[in-house]
């Protein structure tokens, strides 16, 4: 983990326009040496982001840099040899190839290719290189494609839903291999995932996407530490409140509120200490205080985004 001044990915007002979907404008820096999980619903723009980084979706506006190289029509494309990519869906035209044949093809593309690393990954995943990709189970095909994406030890590894189709054992192996890949400290992993547990286990940063927009970029542990749910109830000795909800709406950092039962309120806040203090001072008991789940945080961010529209 070198403290590098140059981010692995840098976007400035990057915008991609397609017929029915606009990605951006998005501005963000993805730090080198860390794992960034990209989280969002289907159609939120995760795959478009990846295609943009690979030069497969042209920018309508703004700028993009990958590994210090600009991504633009006519620009130097050699950076791509330093990137590894696993697409969300397998390519149909590759179905007739064996894993071995696909690997041989890739080995000519990537100067950093190592057959030894490839063989090690295939062994770790217990994948058979001699079978045609089309004939493989979904999980087996995923594993052999992961081995191909990682065999040149790319500086930037981009994985789009890598665990889809993997059984729990293969999933565990995948996380181990990704940790091993990150071990030397200068590699960057960008991973789109629906699996909360995966984010918890591997991510350093989280990028939330929604309808083509970046809703936020957070350090994972600060997010877990900083967003909490409070369940509060009016103290019996406190003065009754005619409009308790109106009072609670002024709680510091309030992101969401719901009446959880008669006189019981559930508050979502990203300033938990201040919120707790305010509630106590206003005559409320704190019945419970918990860290929020990732989906709940995403829900808050989406709600906020939609209120501003």
């Amino acid at each position: 983990m070198t403290e590098s001044a140059v981010p692995a990915v840098s976007l400035r007002h990057a915008t991609v326009r397609r017929e029915s979907f606009t990605f951006g404008p998005v501005s963000l820096d993805i730090p080198q040496g860390f794992v960034t999980a990209v989280v969002g619903a289907n159609g939120s723009g995760k795959s478009t982001l990846f295609r943009l980084l690979l030069g497969l979706a042209p920018l309508a506006e703004g700028e993009a840099e990958v590994l210090g190289q600009p991504v633009a029509p006519g620009a130097d494309e050699r950076y791509k040899a330093r990137v590894g990519f696993l697409a969300e869906l397998p390519h149909a035209y590759e179905g007739g190839m064996t894993a071995e044949e696909k690997a041989r093809f890739a080995s000519q593309w990537y100067p950093g290719w190592s057959w030894e690393r490839y063989a090690k990954l295939m062994r770790a995943f217990q994948a058979d290189a001699g079978i045609k990709l089309r004939r493989m189970s979904k999980g087996m095909r995923r594993k052999s494609e992961l081995a191909v994406a990682m065999a040149h030890d790319p500086e930037l590894l981009i994985l789009d839903e890598p665990s889809s189709g993997l059984d729990p054992f293969a999933w565990k192996t995948l996380l181990e291999e990704l940790n091993r890949y990150m071990e030397r400290g200068d590699r960057t992993l960008l991973i789109a995932t629906h699996v909360t547990e995966e984010v918890k286990r591997i991510a350093d940063y989280i990028l939330f996407m929604h309808q083509g927009k970046a809703l936020g970029f957070y350090e994972k542990d600060r997010l877990y530490d900083g967003w909490r749910v409070l369940v509060v109830q009016r103290r019996t000795d406190a003065e009754p409140q005619a409009a308790p909800a109106a009072e609670l709406r002024r709680v510091p950092g309030l992101q969401g509120m719901a009446e959880a039962g008669p006189g019981l309120f559930r508050l979502e806040t990203n300033a938990p200490e201040e919120a707790e203090e305010a509630c106590r001072a206003w005559g409320w008991n704190i019945l419970a205080m918990q860290r929020m789940e990732l989906e709940e945080v995403l829900g808050c961010l989406i709600r906020k985004e939609e209120e501003t529209r």
């Binding site: 860390f34 996380l175 990150m182 071990e183 400290g185 918890k200 940063y205 542990d221 877990y224 918990q290």
Partner: protein
């Protein structure tokens, strides 16, 4: 190696604080002896399900306290801990436990005299039991 650190998600303290105070305790308490190789930042982060940024922050803090040392290319080791620091830590831990007990006492409306009486009673009871066990 597996380091016995447990994160409690229901505690209000930030994750890095929980990890740091437990790791400090293991070193000062002597469970992790001088020269023991600690896991890499990634390894510890993976086993605790926290981010590498958090572990790096913990290692940096403990290194500046002189409790661990990082040798380039070799990893992070437990440093030599002075007997004085260890002794201070021992007393501190006991004092913390008493503090919690006194807080509970005050919350339940105990007077200082009552608490002293309870303390002496427990001390007597436990020492008697220990004496019996050793004879």
């Amino acid at each position: 190696m597996r380091i016995p650190i447990r994160i409690d998600e229901h505690r209000p303290e930030p994750l890095y604080h929980q990890i740091e105070s437990q790791l400090r305790g293991l070193i000062l308490g002597g469970q992790l002896a001088e020269g023991v190789l600690l896991p890499s930042i990634r390894e510890l982060a993976a086993s605790l399900k926290c981010s590498a940024i958090t572990v790096r922050r913990v290692y940096q803090d403990l290194e500046s306290e002189g409790l661990i040392r990082t040798r380039q290319g070799q990893g992070t080791y437990v440093a030599r801990v002075e007997a004085e620091a260890r002794e201070g830590h021992r007393v501190e831990r006991v004092a913390e436990a008493f503090e919690r007990a006194v807080e509970t006492g005050l919350q339940l409306g105990c007077t200082p005299a009552e608490m002293e009486q309870i303390f002496r009673g427990i001390l007597r009871k436990i020492s008697d039991r220990r004496k019996e066990e050793t004879t």
